[in-house]
């Protein structure tokens, strides 16, 4: 029983990690390569969840919902890039933060005006709503789908960045945009595409999270903070770093939440452990980030530049 419980907790950590990776991949690329701080990344996640909820509700097909989320992410990402973000590249980070924070407020209020303050309903397809038995422990089938999608995106993005021509141009553009431009590559278009790709991945994360989480206005902010922790730990601009860091953060958070309060009961009274355990567990990922920043400020797996 303890072994299967540990296995279930490892799967939970993995699942949380890959979901964080979907968000972190786009954020780290935009931050690392275009040097743009995008706080509205969480809003794209929220829009993805809303798109999935609305389309799944109208068509009874979760697959269509996921496609709708991808499309919404891409389109909104491109619109955002051309309307707001592209005007801000030359400004400093504080302006980025201000502008994208404004966008966060705008999107939150917009979803509340259109769909109201109540959370939306998202149905899971019958085939995914069951559980799978792992050594006598029932684990939700849908969580396996999340893990599969996350791993597929990780492999796909690694190929895109390291093997494909587009990825090579992106990497080159991050080091020396003038030279890449002089060689006849439209660097603005490349940046816009990159931004839209990151937005689509955030929306995909939102769509995958929609059946397990409450789809409501403001759902993007708590997860954005954890995502920022992930890209700092992984090394800004590094997609593979984001992947490993997401898994580390996912596992640390899950196992910390589970075992820290139990561990504390060995030393302290039950009441103290019950109160302090969860508080300490929620600090774990931030402590991890602080340690990484102190020891390796460039992150654990920095992108190789220059």
């Amino acid at each position: 029983m303890t072994f299967s419980l540990l296995l279930a907790q490892l799967l939970n950590g993995l699942q949380y990690g890959v979901l964080l990776f979907l968000l972190a991949a786009g954020l780290t690329l935009v931050f690392g390569i275009m040097s743009f701080v995008n706080l509205a990344h969480g809003s794209l996640y929220m829009l993805g969840a809303y798109a999935a909820a609305v389309v799944t509700g109208a068509t009874d097909s979760f697959a269509l919902g996921v496609f709708a989320a991808l499309a919404t992410g891409t389109v909104v990402g491109m619109l955002l890039e051309s309307a707001a973000v592209s005007r801000l590249y030359r400004r400093d980070h504080l302006d980025h933060v201000l502008a994208t924070f404004g966008l966060v407020l705008f999107f939150n209020e917009m979803t509340r005006m259109i769909w109201g303050p109540q959370p939306l309903f998202v149905a899971l397809p019958e085939s995914l709503s069951g559980t799978i038995d792992i050594f006598g422990f029932s684990y939700p089938a849908y969580r396996f789908l999340i893990i599969a999608v996350g791993l597929a995106v990780a492999i796909g993005s690694s190929w895109l960045i390291h093997k494909a021509r587009v990825g090579m141009l992106v990497r080159a553009g991050s080091v020396n945009p003038q030279m890449v431009g002089a060689l006849g590559v439209n660097i603005r278009l490349l940046n816009a595409m990159l931004f839209a790709l990151g937005a689509a991945l955030a929306a995909l994360a939102g769509a995958m999270a929609a059946p397990i989480l409450s789809v409501q206005s403001g759902m993007g902010e708590p997860v954005l903070i954890t995502t920022l922790v992930v890209i700092v730990i992984g090394g800004i601009g590094s997609v593979s770093g984001a992947f490993y860091a997401a898994l580390i953060v996912g596992l640390t958070d899950t196992l910390g939440r589970t075992y820290l309060p139990l561990l504390m009961r060995e030393f302290a009274s039950r009441d103290v452990a019950n109160a302090a355990g969860p508080a300490l567990a929620s600090m774990l990922v931030y402590l991890l980030m602080a340690v990484v920043l102190a020891v390796r400020p460039q992150g654990l797996f920095p992108a190789h530049k220059g």
Binding site: M1, T2, L5, A8, Q9, N12, G13, Q15, Y16, R112, G116, P117, Q118, P119, L120, F121, V122, A123, L124, S129, G130, T131, F137, S138, Y139, P140, Y142, R143, A209, P211, I212, L213, S214, V215, Q216, S217, G218, M219, P222, V223, T254, L255, R257, T258, P261, N274, A275, G277, P278, A279, A281, S282
Partner: protein, 389 residues
């Protein structure tokens, strides 16, 4: 903006009719109307306005002017709003007052001024006990009531081992405390999670491994949606009775539907009640707002009807605050509450039934069914500490 205009207009109107015996009744309504718990505030306001409109915009025969403010679930803002209502708008009564933390922050100025205040969402233990005051009422509930009802329900059902979960903050601890006050069996574990935690997979796995007879949780708003969805996806709703308070309710059920079927909630009101006027209330609310009302809406509705009786008792003359306060207090016993038996205790909190409702699926529609009244005409445990009579 709108309320400000209304305020200006009513101020002008007041100037115009100076000298008349009594002008319009002015009511300040505050609730969280934006942010993650906006649905809760909106239901209270809509319920209140529905009862007001049913009376042609009048309470006790007097034309009513409602000033609406959004407290954003921020105590400091609640305090400012209370000051504005008392000092600038000089309202006759304040209704709403938001969550416990906001209510407590608003209290000092309200107590000082003697203005009648009627909470529609909170009944903190301090207000019910040592800190009870004459002019502040809660028409809603004492906070622990629903959890106490679930404790009693678990006890009556004969569950031997129960697992408890709540967010790691004061209300979470109060609810767990309330449950334990009436449940005498074994507590397998008490788990406190981070406030606004989105994912409970780790905690649900631990819970599953502990194999209790039943689970009791308090997860209001979005947290509840997350928890119940994930609990059901882990295949546990069919195996384990899930008892809750303020988790599966009228505001969250539309986004949970089948995931909540089988769960039991402790509450003062749900659509399943067959009390006098309840059917009409549900029908007119659904017709006007296009959604099913929640307990919050029912309490808002009751608050307007309570004021109607009180204003009539004083003949529209609300300027004598002490007399108006006494009228509100005695109006409690006359109120035909949507919740069934109702009266104010000496601490100004309700003595009322706390029910157990089970979420059921009837002909493809997910709704609530009453499965018992664990605490009939229940008076809260803090009332003995309240010195006022």
């Amino acid at each position: 903006m709108n309320t400000r205009n209304k305020g200006t207009l009513s101020a002008l109107a007041l100037v115009a009719v100076t000298g008349m015996a009594h002008a319009d009744i002015k009511i300040g309504f505050s609730a969280p109307l934006s942010g993650p718990v906006a649905a809760v505030g909106q239901d209270q306001y809509d319920g209140f306005m529905l009862a007001l409109e049913a009376r042609g915009g009048k309470l006790g025969g007097q034309t009513v002017n409602v000033l609406r403010e959004d407290d954003q679930l921020k105590p400091e803002l609640g305090n400012q709003i209370a000051r504005k209502f008392v000092d600038r708008d000089k309202v006759d009564a304040i209704v709403g007052l938001g969550f416990s933390n906001v209510l407590m922050a608003s209290l000092p100025r309200i107590v000082e001024s003697g203005t009648v205040a009627i909470a529609t969402n909170a009944g903190p233990s301090v207000l019910a006990g040592k800190g009870c005051v004459p002019n502040v009422f809660s028409v809603a509930w004492q906070n622990d009531g629903s959890a106490e009802a679930m404790g009693k329900y678990a006890q009556d059902k004969g569950y031997k081992r129960v697992y408890l979960m709540a967010p790691n903050y004061q209300a979470g601890k109060d609810f767990i405390g309330g449950f334990k006050r009436f449940y005498k069996g074994e507590i397998v574990d008490e788990v406190y999670t981070q406030v606004n935690q989105p994912d409970y997979s780790a905690e649900i796995a631990q819970l599953q491994a502990a194999a209790p007879d039943a689970v009791f949780v308090f997860y209001p708003g979005g947290m509840g949606v997350n928890f119940v969805k994930q609990f059901s996806q882990a295949g546990l709703t069919k195996k384990l009775p899930l008892l809750s308070a303020f988790t599966v309710d009228g505001t969250t059920l539309p986004s949970l539907r089948d995931a909540a079927v089988g769960t039991v909630s402790g509450a003062v009101w749900d659509v399943a009640l067959s009390t006098q006027g309840n059917r009409e209330f549900i029908d007119s609310f659904t017709k006007k707002y296009g959604r099913t009302p929640s307990a919050y809406a029912a309490v808002g509705y009751d608050a307007a009807n309570l004021l109607d009786i009180a204003v009539r008792k004083v003949g529209g003359n609300t300027s004598d605050k002490a007399a108006f306060t006494a009228a509100v207090k005695s109006a409690g016993a006359e109120l035909k509450s949507l919740r069934g038996p109702f009266r104010f205790n000496h601490n100004n909190l309700p003595i009322q039934n706390y029910y157990a409702f089970q979420t059921v699926s009837e002909g493809g529609r997910v709704t609530a069914k009453m499965v018992g009244t664990p605490l009939p005409e229940h008076q809260d445990t803090y009332a003995v500490e309240c010195k006022q009579r």
